[in-house]
Amino acid sequence: MARVQVHLWSGLRRLTDGAEAVEVEATTVGEALDGLIAAHPGLEPLIEAGVSVVVDGEMTTSRHQKIGPENEVYLMQRLKGG
């Protein structure tokens, strides 16, 4: 399984031992989220409450979306709108 870097917002540093980007073993968005929780359990309530994942500038909600080391992956607060 490939290692993927997931960028977090820096307010989460206190939950990730100071890291703003975390490398996880993942081939899909879902595996990346699960990997984040496994590495840093403090993230679980925030991820479970709903986050947005942006892959190469594209918002995705699919846990099944394929990702790899070549992708830029950002975790963001859940976006909606009015």
């Binding site: 594209e58 909600t61 709108g81």
Partner: protein, 746 residues
């Protein structure tokens, strides 16, 4: 400015009559309050007159003794044990141990008439123990502030912060101090915006029926029937599938009808009366006291700029209160704050803070207008001090496709540069200004959104088409979806009817929010139409005895794809549909997904104002909205969205505010005192539709509903500064506030 590749469209980009127009002008359209049922009762809500109070006792005996009063519900009638968002929704629907704001519901009554229900509500005796309150965001997070709710903070809040801080966030990039050191001018100021209500014309209205068997129905004015279903089911402990929710026509929402306020109460009252339908229609006063405005904000912004206009660094610290529950849009505000600028060094800090005010709801680009007010005002101040043209500075720092956004990821295809170019070219920029007149510019941003989407399309026997969507039409989505469906099928616009359907008819749909309906439901409708086209091509192929792959769909008819496929005259959609019963049965298409490919949207506004130095009144002389639509499916509706966003922004900038007395009671809960703009306050708002197609949508749609409310707040503040040399950093810039600023200037 349409791109060449779109010129072949026959319908997309035209302006046919709106499908709901006749119903609306003749009064036939059925809004929430228009729905009635046999045996219906009326509900009325008892609301707290206190900003913060412990509920000692509720005595409904006098109310229940009245002839015609059928039921009273209090929190004791609701299930217990809820957590998280479900608990927040339940607590806001009906107060538990404490009333948390002026207007918080504490009981509800059902009776045989509206008047009787209201009279009975007044007879419900509630004993309160008044508690200290706080309504200002800065005061709410200060040491010693009354605690709204212990333990409400999520895991992001560091230890040591006031319990009213329920969410904290920070993010950034580069070296912020080095960035400021690099600048020729650094400015830092605090900006404040008041809560503003969405101001929809139609108050919340709901008819609900719930039997002892847990089966229920609702007819409700909402932006999202599935959200309403889930929220009501959560609050009342029901199975979602047993609740059938039908959306009414909607008289405006702007985000405020994506959630529940009183909607579970008709169901709760109905259940207590043995299943009689109960209707509640909120008064305007109830709407303003007890439904979501947007948050109020207090914002510190610091920006560094070089003499040539290059922005070297930016820092934003935003504090927002969204009422007595978590949910102020501080995260979105921070994401949008510097979104239009390519700045290497950035720092963002945000606090979501509880206060004794109504639970905020989304309002058009939630958070972005406040962020724009702070950042775009300060950019304007820097431009003025350095003698730079504000539009040139924005162009110099503008983000482009592929740039790293201020909030992290790369931008996809965006059209800020094209938007600024169209702005500079507009003749309004050349209009001469007189004494006490000034011009202001600002840019704004919104992400736009997709979400869970399910659409069905059925071909009728005569070759016309019905599309079932789950996104209520609040801005023209029925017309635009009909246009895209007709364009795809190759049939006239008038041959397509788009219906907004109830929760039993489709899979789960997110509400119409995030400017998503034309993007997401439209994209799904196109996919559904393509599916039906595939089936119609297969049926034609069978008739002709050729392979389906040898059939293509052109101008509403199947035809052989080339000379090798055979010589057959085109078979029209009407011909195929007319035989559907004997060629395989109904022909339909269906698509469900979370459509990907959302396209973000930038806008630029230019406003000319005149200030009356004797009264402080600001008159809008001319107003220009330039915005990237991706592709305007129905340009008249797109222009309407641009104008509507500007109109609401003008109100927020100049007049709208929540005024609380020292007891925390809202002093202006009617439209006479909560002053939204009226026609005489507004000039004709000029619009330019920029079209940088979104590659993620079959017709290039980005979504246009929200960006338009973002730039008006700073654009007007900047124009006022240009007119009279006074910088006002707190909204609204109402006549008294501006007059005081003019007097202080001397």
């Amino acid at each position: 400015m349409a791109k060449d590749e779109f010129k072949e469209f026959k319908l997309v980009g035209t302006r046919p009559d709106r499908p709901d127009g006749l119903d609306k002008v003749t009064g036939r359209a059925r809004y929430g309050a228009d729905i009635s049922a046999p045996g219906m009762l009326w509900g009325a809500v008892v609301r707290s007159p206190h900003a913060h109070a412990r509920i000692v006792k509720i005595d409904a005996s006098k109310a229940l003794a009245m002839d015609g009063v059928k039921a009273v519900v209090t929190r004791a009638d609701f299930p217990t044990g809820l957590t998280g968002d479900a608990w927040n929704l339940q607590e806001n629907t009906m107060a538990g141990e404490r009333a948390l704001y002026d207007g918080h519901a504490v009981a509800a009554v059902a009776a045989i008439s509206k008047t009787l229900a209201e009279d009975a509500a007044r007879l419900v005796e509630v004993e309160y123990e008044i508690l200290p309150h706080v309504t200002d965001v800065d005061e709410a997070m200060a040491e010693g502030a009354p605690v709204i709710r212990e333990g409400a903070a999520d895991a992001t809040v560091p230890e040591g912060m006031h319990p009213n801080v329920v969410k904290y966030m920070e993010f950034g990039r580069g070296d912020i101090e080095a960035g400021f050191a690099e600048a020729d001018l650094v400015k830092e100021h605090t900006f404040k915006t008041e809560a503003a209500h969405q101001g929809y014309i139609e108050p919340h209205a709901c008819l609900g029926q719930l039997g002892e068997d847990g089966k229920g129905e609702m007819w409700v004015c909402t932006q999202g029937q599935w959200y309403i279903r889930k929220m009501c089911a959560d609050v009342l402990g029901l199975d979602g599938a047993q609740l059938r929710v039908t959306p009414s026509e909607i008289g405006g929402g702007f985000g405020g009808k994506t959630t529940i306020f009183m909607e579970p109460l008709p169901l709760a009252l109905s259940k207590k009366t043995g299943g009689r339908p109960v209707k509640i229609v909120m008064s305007r006063s109830e709407v303003l006291r007890a439904t979501g405005p947007t948050a109020s904000a207090s914002m510190d912004v610091k920006i560094g700029m070089k003499k040539d206009g290059t922005i070297t660094a930016g820092r934003a610290e935003f504090r927002m209160q969204g009422g007595a529950f978590p949910g102020a849009p501080v995260d979105m505000a921070l994401y949008c704050a510097f979104a239009g600028y390519n700045v290497p060094n950035l720092e963002h800090v945000g606090y979501d803070v509880l206060a004794n005010r109504p639970k905020c709801a989304a309002y058009r680009a939630p958070g972005s207008p406040m962020a724009a007010f702070a950042v775009e005002s300060l950019v304007d101040e820097l431009c003025r001090e350095l003698g730079l043209d504000p539009l040139e500075v924005r162009m110099k720092n503008a983000v482009k496709s592929g740039d790293q956004a201020s909030y992290g990821p790369k931008f996809g295809s965006i059209g800020l540069v094209e938007t600024l170019e169209a702005t500079v070219a507009h003749p309004n920029l050349q209009a001469e200004l007189g004494p006490n007149q000034g011009r202001g510019v600002a840019v704004g941003y919104w992400f736009n959104h997709s979400g869970e989407t399910s659409v069905s399309m059925a071909i009728s026997e005569d070759g016309t088409a019905q599309v079932s969507v789950g996104t209520p039409d609040i801005g023209g989505s029925r017309a635009s979806i009909a246009l895209m469906t007709a364009e795809t099928l190759g049939i006239p616009y008038e041959d397509v009817r788009v219906n907004v359907v109830e929760t039993g008819a489709l899979g789960v749909n997110e509400p119409t929010h995030g400017s998503r309906a034309t993007f997401a439901s439209g994209k799904a409708a196109v996919e559904a139409a393509r599916q039906a086209i595939g089936e119609m091509c297969r049926r034609a192929a069978k008739e002709w005895g050729i392979e389906p792959e040898a059939v293509e769909w052109v101008d509403g008819a199947a035809q052989p794809a080339g000379p090798n496929a055979g010589e057959f005259p085109p078979m029209t959609i009407a011909e195929i549909a007319g035989k559907m019963g004997s060629t395989g049965g109904p022909i339909s298409g269906h698509h469900e997904s979370v459509p990907e490919g959302v396209g973000a949207s930038f806008g630029a506004h230019v406003v000319d104002v005149e200030v009356d130095p004797e009264t402080g009144r600001t008159t809008i002389l001319r107003y220009l909205v330039v915005q990237d639509a991706g592709r305007a499916i129905h340009p008249a509706y797109v222009e309407g969205q641009y104008q509507g966003g500007a109109a609401q922004g003008i109100g927020w900038a100049l007049n709208e505010e929540y005024i609380y007395d020292d007891q925390g009671r809202l002093q202006n809960p009617v439209f006479l005192d909560y002053r939204v703009p009226v026609a005489s306050d507004l000039p004709m708002i000029d619009t330019v539709i920029v079209e940088v197609p979104n590659p993620g949508h079959p017709y290039g749609v980005r979504g246009v509903g929200e960006t338009g409310i973002t730039p008006p707040l700073p654009a007007i503040a900047n124009a006022i500064q240009d007119a009279v040399g006074v910088r006002v950093r707190q909204l609204p810039i109402s006549p008294p506030r501006l007059l005081a600023a003019l007097k202080a200037k001397g």
